[in-house]
């Protein structure tokens, strides 16, 4: 049975992964973390992650363009890396996002996105 720690281990096994965490995006709190974080600060990274997700969810109009069109993931690319945010949809009330930081040279965006989709689904599906 994959738990939270197992999920993060798997995330770190994605080629190029530097760090991973699960973040509560209403409070900007890292529920679980592993590996490195931007500026070596998982809590600050989580707060920033929360801001980005909130902005996409509530202040951008992309999400509500169609009925039942929910936010799936956010990808931010920088010169040095990829930052992938994958929404974790639970049946019970929670607002969680899986965050993986990839090295730009070693990471593959398409592979990472597929792997994260699988991880987020496995975490909550029996």
């Amino acid at each position: 049975m994959p738990g939270v720690d197992h999920c993060l281990q798997e995330a770190m096994a994605i080629p190029g992964a530097v760090g991973a965490s699960i973040v509560d995006y209403t409070t900007g709190f890292p529920v679980a973390t592993t590996g490195a974080a931007p500026n070596s600060d998982h809590e600050a990274a989580a707060a920033g992650t929360a801001d980005v997700v909130q902005a996409a969810n509530s202040r951008a109009l992309y999400v509500s363009a169609l009925p039942h069109d929910l936010l799936e993931d956010l990808i931010i690319t920088t010169a040095g890396g990829y930052h992938l945010l994958r929404m974790v949809q639970t049946d019970f009330d929670s607002r969680l996002v899986l965050y993986v930081w990839l090295d730009r040279a070693q990471g593959n965006l398409a592979v990472a996105r597929r792997r994260m989709q699988k991880l987020a689904d496995e975490l909550v599906a029996s």
């Binding site: 049975m1 699960i22 209403t26 049946d91």
Partner: protein, 342 residues
């Protein structure tokens, strides 16, 4: 099982102390809403508060688990403290779901239990929670997160009345176009002017803190009626109406040797050698506010109370029970069990 004497301290500090000593037990925080934090060898394994839906409420209110499934797990696992493990072993939940749900519930309840600067706190050594250890959280991380959450709320809208008062939407929004998140919509639809934020959180199976957060956001947008009670509502006591012979605290003490023959009836004050009456206590602000053509409300003459001082017995009435937090936690558990039986 030993119980420390109830102390009025900072719950967060006591948690740090208990964790430093690697103790096992439960920290019961009194007051409103209060709560309980369960510690296993210095690590937090669960927390609950009447203002925050517990794991059972979160899982059943959302429909993730049928009430019967949850109750079965409670019946089987409560005595051996392995309700959580049972649910996973029986295939009702994945380990990931259970862990995420418990983590969410811990931080949510910890906010309500640990945010007061001081409260009456008991530590019951040896107590464990029936859910069993699902996750182990560093108490320092919890304390840090609680104080961060307190600050976050004030950044949104610095008015703590919103957190506890019954929720009522304004009848006419203060702007032409209003955009709501789905949780905000849910809260507004279910706000009936009676339900408090804690009621709404339990009813909807939403985290208590997330509920308060959205309510503060809506208050900042001007979408909620703000309660009229003042911020210092905790010390506000409605005085009884002045009646013919109100209990007069300033009544001079009549010593038997001073007035031996006077029967103790209504006329005592007039006949006893009264010293100069003390100057009127400063008027209640209510008196100034009432207009000239209105009845002037004259509060009964009471000695002016220092902030925080106790009311005299005849006015204060029944004191609240000492361990309210414990009672509420117990009542909440009973309610969860009853709900599952439906």
């Amino acid at each position: 099982m030993t119980v420390t004497a109830s102390k009025t301290v900072s719950p967060g500090r006591l948690l740090t102390q208990v964790a430093g000593e690697r103790q096992t037990g439960v920290l019961v925080v009194g007051g409103h809403p209060g709560g309980a934090v369960y510690v296993l060898e210095g690590r937090v394994i669960y927390a609950e508060s009447p203002a925050a839906p517990g794991v059972g409420e979160l899982l059943t209110a959302s429909g993730r688990l049928a009430g019967r499934t949850w109750q079965n797990a409670l019946d089987l696992g409560t005595s051996t403290a392995r309700v959580g493990r049972l649910l996973v072993e029986q295939g009702h939940l994945t380990q990931g779901e259970l862990e995420l749900c418990v983590l969410g519930a811990i931080y949510d309840a910890a906010y309500f239990a640990l945010s007061p600067a001081s409260a009456s706190v008991d530590f019951l050594t040896g107590a464990t929670h029936w859910l069993g250890p699902v996750v182990h959280v560093d108490p320092a991380a919890i304390n840090r997160e609680v104080s961060r959450r307190v600050g976050l709320l004030d950044e949104i809208f610095p008015d703590a009345r919103v957190d506890t008062a019954p929720v009522a939407a304004v009848t006419r929004p203060p702007r032409e176009r209003v955009t709501l998140t789905s949780l905000q919509w849910e809260l507004l639809v279910h706000a009936d002017g009676q339900r408090t934020p804690a009621d709404l959180a339990l009813l909807l199976g939403r985290a208590g803190y997330a509920t308060i957060q959205e309510l503060r956001r809506m208050a900042a947008l001007g979408l909620l009626e703000l309660p009229e009670v003042r911020t210092e509502a905790l010390e506000f006591v409605r005085l009884p109406r002045a009646r013919g012979t109100a209990a007069d605290v300033q009544r001079p003490v009549v010593r038997p040797d001073e007035a031996p023959t006077v029967p103790v009836v209504a006329g005592v004050r007039a006949s006893a050698p009264v010293p100069d009456p003390p100057p009127d206590p400063p008027r209640h602000s209510l008196v100034e506010e009432s207009g000239a053509n209105q009845l002037v409300y004259r509060p009964p003459r009471l000695a002016r109370r220092k902030p925080g001082a106790k009311l005299p017995k005849e006015v204060a009435g029944e004191p609240p029970p000492a361990h309210q937090g414990t009672d509420e936690v117990l009542l909440k558990r009973i309610r969860t069990a009853l709900r599952a039986l439906r």
